[in-house]
């Protein structure tokens, strides 16, 4: 499998994602600079977390207009899998690759902590590593992770099985207390209609190593390698 990590000015989880991919692939992912309008053919494009362009204007808004995004949109249209994490998710919604928007957290504060996620879709290359689903423990770290979509869109996402992850408690119950940011219907990650684009606020790359306190993020990367090799 060949993968790449897009690097915007202000990206700061690019190295974390690089490490997680390297460990899963046994090979180096390509690091692609935001100003490049093209890059090598890859089997997986990843858009990392951070504060692209300082999150000025709106989180992800400026990155969505960068030269590299035009190329990503083109390739996503051809079916290349695209994974956006945290700021990457914000970039993907801003660029129109995913529906809905990410607003400021309901309590208006940045939040960094482990949360539980219920896996809602396992028939994708991103989530096939999670077998039949289950509950994961993975950290979030964001100020603008409050997923918003109107009722019609939420119903549509649900009908099309586009919700990949929801915030839950350790038992998998979708409670308000388990929702760290006020996201509608506890949505933590969604898929595109064609299921080749995933955006998620939690950071699977941060818990893919036992020394860091957990490994629930690891299966996403090993699953991707299995699906795309």
């Amino acid at each position: 499998m060949k993968a790449c990590v897009i690097v915007f000015p202000g990206s700061n989880c690019d190295r974390d994602l690089q490490v997680a991919l390297r460990n899963a692939m046994g090979a180096e992912p390509e690091m692609v600079w935001h100003g490049d309008s093209t890059f090598d053919d890859v089997d997986l494009i990843t858009v990392p977390g951070g504060f692209s362009y300082g999150d000025y204007l709106r989180a992800g808004a400026m990155a969505a207009k960068s030269p590299v995004m035009r190329e990503i949109i083109r390739r996503a249209g051809k079916g290349v899998p695209v994974l956006g994490i945290c700021n990457g998710f914000q970039v993907l919604t801003e660029s129109g690759l995913l529906p809905g928007a990410l607003m400021r957290n309901a309590n208006l504060k940045y939040v960094c902590r482990d949360v539980h996620l219920k896996v809602e879709a396992t028939d994708t290359p991103f989530t096939q590593g999670y077998g039949n689903g289950g509950v994961l423990r993975i950290p979030v770290a964001h100020h603008d992770g409050n997923y918003f979509a109107d009722d019609d869109l939420l119903d549509e996402l649900q009908d099309n099985d586009q919700v990949a992850f929801r915030y839950s408690d350790a038992n998998g119950d979708l409670t308000d207390d388990a929702n760290p940011n006020g996201s509608r219907r506890n949505i933590a990650g969604i898929l595109s209609r064609d299921r080749n684009v995933l955006g998620m606020m939690p950071h699977p790359e941060r818990l893919a190593d036992p020394a860091l306190g957990g490994t629930d993020g690891k299966a996403m990367f090993s699953g991707l390698v299995e699906a795309l090799s």
Partner: protein
Amino acid sequence: MSAQKTEITPDVIKSHGLSEDEYEKILEIMGREPNMTELGIFSVMWSEHCSYKSSKKWLKTLPTEAPWVICGPGENAGVVDIGDGQAVIFKMESHNHPSYIEPYQGAATGVGGILRDVFTMGARPVANLNALRFGSPDHPKTRHLVSGVVAGIGGYGNCVGVPTVGGECEFHESYNGNILVNAMTVGIADTDRIFYSAATGAGNPIVYVGSKTGRDGIHGATMASTEFSEDSEEKRPTVQVGDPFTEKLLIEACLELMATDCIVGIQDMGAAGLTSSGFEMASKGGVGVELNLDLVPQREENMTPYEMMLSESQERMLMVLKPGTEDQARAIFEKWELDFAVVGQLTDSGHMVLTHKGETVANLPIDPLALASPEYDRPWVATEKPDIIAAEEITEPDDIIAVLKQLLSCPNMASKRWIWEQYDHMVMGDTMGIGRPGGDAGLVRVHGTDKALAVTSDCTPRYCLADPVEGGKQVVTEAWRNLTATGSTPLAITDNMNFGNPEKPKIMGQFVGCIEGMKEACLALDFPVVSGNVSLYNETNGQAILPTPTIGAVGLLTQSSKAVGAGFVEDGDSIVVIGDGRGHLGQSIYLREIEGREDGTPPPVDLNLERRHGDFVRRQILEGAVNACHDISDGGLLITVAEMALSGNRGCEINKPDNGLAAHAWAFGEDQARYVVTTKDPEHLIADAKAAGVPATHIGNVSGSDISLSSHGRLGIQDLRTLHESWLPDYMAG
């Protein structure tokens, strides 16, 4: 020579924070009357903040050397060898005055400034910490200050992508008018790529990079060198505004340039901006400087030389490059979309000459100004020793469990989760699971290696007030214990000395006493000071803060997998106390929270015992004989045990040994040189301890989900967690 035509009157001199004697000295150095730009430059260079004029004499007495120290105080940050051709570079710095006036920007730019101090030396920042002290929770400004400072630290640190892995936060009424915001950055560099600030080579180009210069922060260093009064909020315009996005770009661009061979010297523009960085670089290299201010990138129109030289606009660096490398360097900064301007060159004149619009606007001799800054031997009086409080004088409480609940939910002991969850403490992918905030020390792996750094910050101001010498020993020692409790070998410290007005002999005596105690502890523990910062004049309307010498410290684990955390690990493990408790209640949390008293002597520090007990504990951890460890500090033994239970989410059965101490003195005494450890083989551990001359007492076992204390009752840890974790969020929501 022309410049602004303002007349230098006694009022002008005074408003620049210069004394009459100091002005006389200026006249002597210049051989003429300075113009306004020159006066402004003298005023910031000789401000307490930049010159350390009250503290220098005493700071010089601190031990700064050890075989592992590569560079001690005097550079932007301290540098310590961590083996394999790598070094850890770190420093702590205060941003107290600006944070009180404008908490968000004050704290944010504090983080930005300390990050620059570390990456300017060639290190990639890998961890941030912060030590915060606020006024009484009842004070009307406290909530607003906590909220702004925490948001500012998070807003900056989260965006630059450096994890904030530790720190402390306390409340005390002495900080009502002067909060403390002490920020620390730890970075990692290759030992053969460390960059210093000395500028050498006449003719070499001087380059300005980063953000443009604006009118913000003018005279910030002077502001930080006076007491506050009612009208201090009018000084809001002197607080700088931070842009963490630019800082992130600056980090990447500087590190990229540092991988090349272009740089002769580099210095960030911190307090006193272009003035301070220019003088420091030139003075260290023994050269002169010519700057053309027309070439300085400017954010605002019609800026005067005075404004440009004194601006504290953020995210700026000054570099001296090797001739002919300008284009290579420029390409890197242009890639990162940062300003890059050759603004002058080094000369052999020994002077700083500034030109603006074709005219010379300042001409100052460098060494007389930089090196002849005043140094004062301020009068001081030693703090009188308070009376010792015997444990028997303190009435035994009816209910030890109720006291435990009360102590763990009081403002200073309550969980600070509400704060550190607003900080990204995991970005960069090396924050170890057992080293997340809330424990003794943050643990961060050295990227791509099996090594890890332990990082902590500590201070116990109430001890320092009661007995500066013992308090000074204790602050260094507690930092050393915190590092030891993870299994790491303590390497060195950075000190952030926050005190009141040094012109008052009592305050100066606190400073002198703390330094004396710190010195003794540093020597006994082989724990030198490699960097630091002094913040004086922390007084409002004559009310000084508690003496607060905050210690930031770094330790090394050569095998990160050997580290232990503070949380209980497994049911059935034995809980063993290392060290003897004598029930010292003077200056304890117990005395303050339960008896409403803040008196007595602090617990004495026996540095030989500290060393022996700490070395024993570390050895046991590294040999795998201990699977959790927490040092005993604020609140005493029972608080330590409860924190281990909360951290590991496991209960315990504890029995008070029959040692002749009253239950409250045993449970809450704050005697030093102690740790609580858990082990699977208590007999072996206790035998080893005995052989090493270290007291070790088996007091109970890890079990269940309650903390059970022999005849005193029990308490569910979920109930305790609710109490412990709800005080701060409830307060902030109030």
